[in-house]
Symmetry: C2
Subunit: 137 residues, 2 copies
């Protein structure tokens, strides 16, 4: 598979794919060269890019990803180290989810206030008072 085909399949640009390779996120399990020096991608490249996207979408940096993916490949780190990383990442995600829940709370309050403001400005004003009395801006 040539680079443009892969790019289309993955919804990336060819530049991005070459960039990932340069950053060490793809190795010869994913890309090889044809006699004309064109890159030729294996099916594994697709899976790798999917994995990159997945991790990236939850806030892994490419540097962090490189670490994990290299662990995945070679045995640079011990199993225990990887298990630790996974546990840490799980905690991170869980606390991020909690933050999101808090934020949803805040947004719901804002929504309630703004809706009230349209229907009953008087009551909205009252709401603002009690809000300010408790905590945030």
């Amino acid at each position: 598979m040539k680079i443009q085909e892969l790019a289309d399949k993955m919804g990336l640009t060819i530049h991005t794919i070459r960039f990932y390779e340069k950053e060490g996120l793809l190795d010869d399990r994913h890309v090889r060269r044809e006699s004309n020096n064109y890159r030729n991608y294996s099916e594994e490249a697709i899976e790798r890019l999917k994995l990159i996207k997945k991790f990236q979408s939850i806030g892994c940096s490419l540097a962090e990803l490189k670490e994990v993916l290299q662990d995945h490949d070679s045995n640079a780190h011990t199993n225990l180290q990887i298990i630790d990383w996974i546990r840490g990442k799980k905690k991170e995600i869980e606390s991020k989810k909690e933050e999101y829940d808090q934020m949803l709370d805040t947004l719901n309050k804002m929504l309630k206030y703004r809706t009230l403001l349209m229907n009953d400005p008087q009551k909205a004003q009252e709401m603002l008072m009690t809000w300010h009395a408790s905590s945030s801006d």
Copy 2:
């Protein structure tokens, strides 16, 4: 309150605070100048910075934040526009939470595999097979 004190209270650097001001996230409700031109921050500055952190932690850009905070202050946008923004943001957060759930799934699989690898390499190998048969890397 002088800048260093605020920075310490908020866990930011003085550079970051001045940067936020330059970006228009703080106004004269939050900062004024003393006769010597030193910045003097009100208590409201603390609430404002908390709010900035809160929104930022769930992926709002400073530009976006500026919009909302200005709405919050002046009535640059209509109530309906703000309500729309809030609704959109809520959706964003909800789908982000789903992504996080998926990621937790993946991490749990990885953890299971790595744990098995330590206790029963044979079974770990089998697990890898069924995994590869289904989908991801």
